[in-house]
Symmetry: none
Subunit: 227 residues, 4 copies
């Protein structure tokens, strides 16, 4: 039995290794420019071997996306549990982004792939069957709920339309991340990235909080001191 398990584990490890290499390459060169040959070479495998692990190129993207997507959602959801208001929740959401960047740059890959796999997100309603990709719409729902909650608890401006604002928040977040993704890898310093994200998120914050809220809550701390 140990053997079966080991084989199973090794197979998963190799799959994961391929995804790792693909992720790195996408981070370096962008989703569109990465070829199966690139991935194969980087994984020190033949092109044919990739097809033992994934049905086709899109399946690699989808796996990458699902993996990063669920980690992202779990990570974020867990953080949100402690929030005592909508405002605190969205602050925690964005501080999660900062911390995720501290861990790795996967979030860039995540968003880039999303734009390939579900290109009409978030402007058009999702087609539930679109390749099993649900995460984006879960995130949309999560943000929408959080806006509603903030309106209910008085931390957000009651004039907001939660669905509309949720879309806008995602569009804006997407914009900043895509802009970062376009930078040459050597220029993507955490310093720069975090500063721009901070500025963007704080701008959104100022736009949606209820008038008269505590001004100190409009500042997002860049966090754990690792920068």
């Amino acid at each position: 039995m140990g053997i079966t398990e080991r084989k199973e584990r090794e197979k998963n490890e190799r799959r994961a290794m391929i995804l790792d290499r693909a992720r790195e390459l996408i981070l370096e060169r962008g989703v569109d420019s990465v070829t199966m040959q690139d991935i194969a070479t980087s994984a020190e495998l033949s092109k044919g071997t990739l097809y033992l692990y994934f049905d086709n190129k899109e399946a690699i993207l989808a796996a990458l996306f699902r993996e990063a997507g669920s980690y992202f959602l779990e990570y974020v959801s867990a953080r949100l549990d402690t929030a005592r208001s909508g405002l605190e929740a969205i602050r925690l959401l964005w501080m999660s982004y900062f911390d995720l960047f501290g861990e790795s740059n996967d979030i860039i890959v995540l968003f880039s792939i999303r734009n390939v796999l579900t290109p009409s997100f978030p402007l058009l309603p999702g087609t539930p069957n679109a390749g099993d990709i649900q995460e984006p719409y879960l995130l949309l729902g999560l943000i929408q709920n959080l806006i509603s909650r903030g309106i209910a608890d008085g931390s957000f401006d009651p004039a907001l339309d939660p669905a509309q604002i949720a879309r806008t928040v995602i569009v804006i977040t997407d914009g900043i991340i895509e802009n970062i993704a376009r930078l040459p890898p050597g220029m993507r310093t955490n310093r720069l990235i975090l500063q721009e994200m901070k500025s963007t998120f704080e701008l959104i914050l100022r736009a949606i909080v209820a008038p008269g809220c505590d001004r100190s809550l409009l500042i997002l701390p860049l966090g754990s001191g690792q920068f």
Copy 2:
């Protein structure tokens, strides 16, 4: 001499025609999916002929961009002249976007190409020689000035960092436009697009105006009734 001039004029007309076709195709299918063959066919020319007018594919994009870029800048600058405050100016800026959409969808092409030609804009400072492409940085400067002006005249929050905010405004504008560009052309209704742009711009407005400003200025009118 008349002959030389006529030739010159015809050459320019031909160039313009090629760019027209390229622009239409890019709008329909996206920058990446348009091939030289597509452009040639649509222009009723041979592929080879395209290379008489442009060095390569990127040169077509660059020309397209310069053309649309200067029109855009002129259009916008002209409108801004009548502004009596920074706030009024940025409102006019965005209302220009709406009106430009009313005329055509070139703005989608403009922004899409910009992301190909100057991928690190606006996050990294422009390298003055980068293919002669200056427009994006002019726009950045323009917005930055307009923010400064608003701060000076009391219509914008004095705590803003004009350079930072200008970048953020551009990143956000870019985000919304790129999201729209990704939609299948059939789904890109003016109705949807304008609504999302309006929502996004109004969000920014709320974030940057000075406290206590006239609330009615936070609403952007969708305009000339053509929608």
Copy 3:
């Protein structure tokens, strides 16, 4: 104007040349084993060039088929005009096959491709839209008419079901040709082929003529003395 025409002509010649090479290769190696690379090499062109003349591999087969198919049908139809009875007509049909073999072996290519393009012919009724391929069904109709005519004029057994017999005749003709196609090219001597075709067609003849017909009509002459 002469130039345009010459270009046009040259283009057609090159198209024809590609088809020639493809035809030769299919004759040598069989439809399935011929690759685009083979055709390109044989035509002294690059693979990419083939796609200037044909949309894809199937288009080459279809062109080859249409060409050979219409020539075949015209050739045969012309011969049939002089027939004074159903029996004479089918004799002329088959004698046409012999003569066509005298000219070239295209008929092998024709039938081989047919089995790829319309694999359920003649057992299933044709779907009128199947890639514009009509020839097989025209031939089927022609044979069916000719059987009916023979029954009417007393030269064929009145017990025959024309539709059924037409199918069977085609199946059998197909059988002999496919058997020939499978032979290594070096072994495909006209002598052998014609002898087998003759034997097969005579067998069919004996099976369908009305009892008491002139026995000499059951022998098919191998023709023009070129063998």
Copy 4:
């Protein structure tokens, strides 16, 4: 020694199982479209294991062919023992085909593979060493004998050339089966197949019987009521 025998037996069982699966797949999809992976999956084995039992893909086909071929020959030969004339013998031969179809469709596989393994059969004389494949030539001899016998006993037309007719009969039989094999599996109804085979075989019968034979013998009964 018991162990050795058991091993031997188990090995043979496995081999047989692999062949079973391969046969089913070939019937469904055609010889050319079946891959080693398909067979392995269907046999619940790994691809590598197939190579423990067979040298290569062709060896599987050859084994399949030898197996089905000898069964076919035995089946047919046994039936032919009771025949009292050449005519009765060939009727029994074809009625065997019908009955074999009642049992399974293996005959399609048999003939399809034959066309791959011995492509020049029956038009060229067999090369005795050709992969040990003898069955086709045994069948050819059997039919030839049976024609000779019919000529001798007066049931067949004395003008026939037994060798030539035997080849023709095989070519025709092959034609009908290959036409059937090309049908999509869903369209291969016993009803259709048997009707076409019946029509084809009856046509041959009419062509070879001696004049004045009992007309009722020209009809082949479709048999045991299972259709």
